[in-house]
Symmetry: C2
Subunit: 345 residues, 2 copies
């Protein structure tokens, strides 16, 4: 919890911690100002609820010493990203916090401020939660509840062979940013300007869920999911769920100028683009007759989308390299159980 | 994770773990067999949703080496207990699991079996979740979603001076059971029979949420909450939320024969009764004109309830000892942040 950078009194009781989160419930009557055992939610008529829980832990999903404002933003953003991919709108969230030792006032204040910025941006409200003390890393478990018009949730397993594959934004930035945070000398090796370094780090610290794309996905996508574990692994999941194969051309993957410079300097950094994780972009399959409309609708929403390949009969995914050969992926994405250490790398 | 007692292969991937939980979603179409990013929930007409998240961690909320079946039961039961106190019926739950190392097949199978027993008893279904790997204790974070008829959730802050105070079941058993699990020699010191020891341990390992009381609470209680942190602390919370005081007579607290024997042998064990935590009984305030009907309705539901005192004007709680004096509470309940160690004591 970055004790070296935090200051102020220690918050020794649950009540002392919870107090800082009560203002985040101001617009949620069913939160009872965090003074009741449970939260109450009156579902809006004609809507279904979409639910996601994705905990983040210090040293695993965010670095030790990260600014608490960034941690608060990220804790909510990673869940909002999932809902965006489903065509849903965030409404409420529950927050379960675990600290191994009493947290500093300044950390809790910063974290709550980051959450506030995020919930105002994403249009949702804190409705309940829990705080406890246990050994291990600081952990933030958010359960996000959103709404989607009845019958309109965008699924993962409903893509079909022949559909085009699209991604939002650019790929690999966050993984490259994390690499730079771990080893700042890479900035020189990759010939990055200070602005480029900052861009990549920011992409790691402040994922931008593509909430504005939800409408276009509901209207035009046959399937979608968010990219959190790397394109290669997540695309394989979408293909498996939809019982089809996928093919992607490396040259078609959208890269930011910073990422393009990095891979131009060091080709092995394509691993970050394909398998780095933490993109929080959206992968969508779109039937051919919808593709123009999807692109137009995404542009109207201010979200860049790029066609990166298509879905095929059969199974498995194929990534075509620049020379026409098939890419060998040493790492096929982030799997929490396949890597030995607590930190992604 | 009680590695010394577990066997079978290690489950190295998220997929290998998740597979064991898919059968728990069989009756929940919105779980998409755990193959989608989010869960989908169509709220029943005329109902509101009641939500609770209460994570449990090894070494904090359950002992290292506990049987995985008991852990699975407890993870769900502690959340069901909250909903029962609110007059709600459990419907669906999300499950976020964290392991520091790849879990054994036998542990995951046992845990899933415990969850199955619990969800069948409580009438709810797994609808989604997440699995990750992080340092620290095995952690199980369940978010439970239940239903309550519109406008009928039983609140914590709506009790009034003059209402009677009732608790379900008996108090202190689980805390005494935990003390016995930690130090088996206490069985002799407290003159407990083998059956009594077993009863107390079972009360710790297998909390029984008083779900059958939900209807009586909705009809007759002015306020209610579940007892998880000890009567003294939880009663103080109810009083604070309701802006009134509370008085309780020690002699009126319901004790099991096992607990009665323990406190008769060692008066200091009244601490377990008043402040031990883990009771998972229900504390309810009932207006005078409802008390007979409440007791009748509880009896019809098969749940013993006992009047232990009443709510008063003013603030603070008073516990009257057998000699008419006011009890001095060295510990006023379990606060996660007020105790130094990871384990309750």
């Amino acid at each position: 919890m970055s004790d070296h950078t935090q200051s102020g009194e220690l918050l020794e009781s649950e009540e002392a911690i919870i107090r800082h989160f009560v203002p985040l419930t101001a617009a949620a009557a069913g939160a009872f100002a965090l003074q009741d055992d449970c939260a109450l939610l009156a579902p809006p008529a004609g809507c279904e609820l979409v639910l996601k829980t994705d905990p983040i832990a210090e040293g695993v999903h965010f670095l030790v010493g990260e600014e608490p404002q960034d941690v608060g933003w990220k804790a909510l953003a990673v869940n909002v990203s999932d809902l965006a991919a489903k065509g849903a709108a965030p409404a409420y969230y529950l927050l379960a916090l675990s600290f191994p030792t009493a947290p500093h006032l300044s950390w809790v204040q910063g974290f709550a401020a980051g959450l506030r910025t995020a919930q105002e941006r994403f249009g949702c409200h804190l409705i309940g939660g829990d705080t406890d003390r246990r050994p291990g890393p600081v952990t933030i478990a958010i359960t996000l509840i959103g709404t989607v018009p009845q019958g309109r949730m965008v699924r993962r397993g409903t893509a079909r062979a022949g559909d085009g594959l699209f991604v939002s934004g650019t790929l690999g930035d966050a993984a490259l940013g994390l690499a730079l945070l771990r080893d700042p000398t890479r900035a020189g090796a990759w010939s990055l300007s200070a602005d480029m370094v900052e861009h990549l780090k920011h992409r790691y610290r402040r994922p931008q869920p593509r909430l504005a794309l939800a409408g276009a996905l509901r209207e035009h996508a046959s399937a979608a999911m968010d990219l959190s574990d790397g394109l290669a692994k997540d695309l394989a999941r979408l293909c498996r769920a939809s019982a089809c194969g996928g093919q992607v051309r490396l040259a078609d993957l959208p890269l930011s100028p910073s990422a393009a410079r990095s891979v131009a300097s060091d080709r092995s950094q394509y691993q970050a683009v394909l398998a780095g994780g933490d993109d929080y972009e959206i992968l969508a399959s779109v039937p051919p007759q919808h593709q123009t409309a999807f692109q137009r609708s995404a542009a109207a929403a201010g979200i860049a989308v790029t066609r990166i390949g298509s879905l095929t009969l059969g199974s498995g995914i194929s990534i075509e390299a620049d020379d026409g050969g098939r890419l060998d992926l040493a790492r096929s994405g982030w799997d929490h159980f396949a890597t030995p250490g607590p930190e992604r790398g």
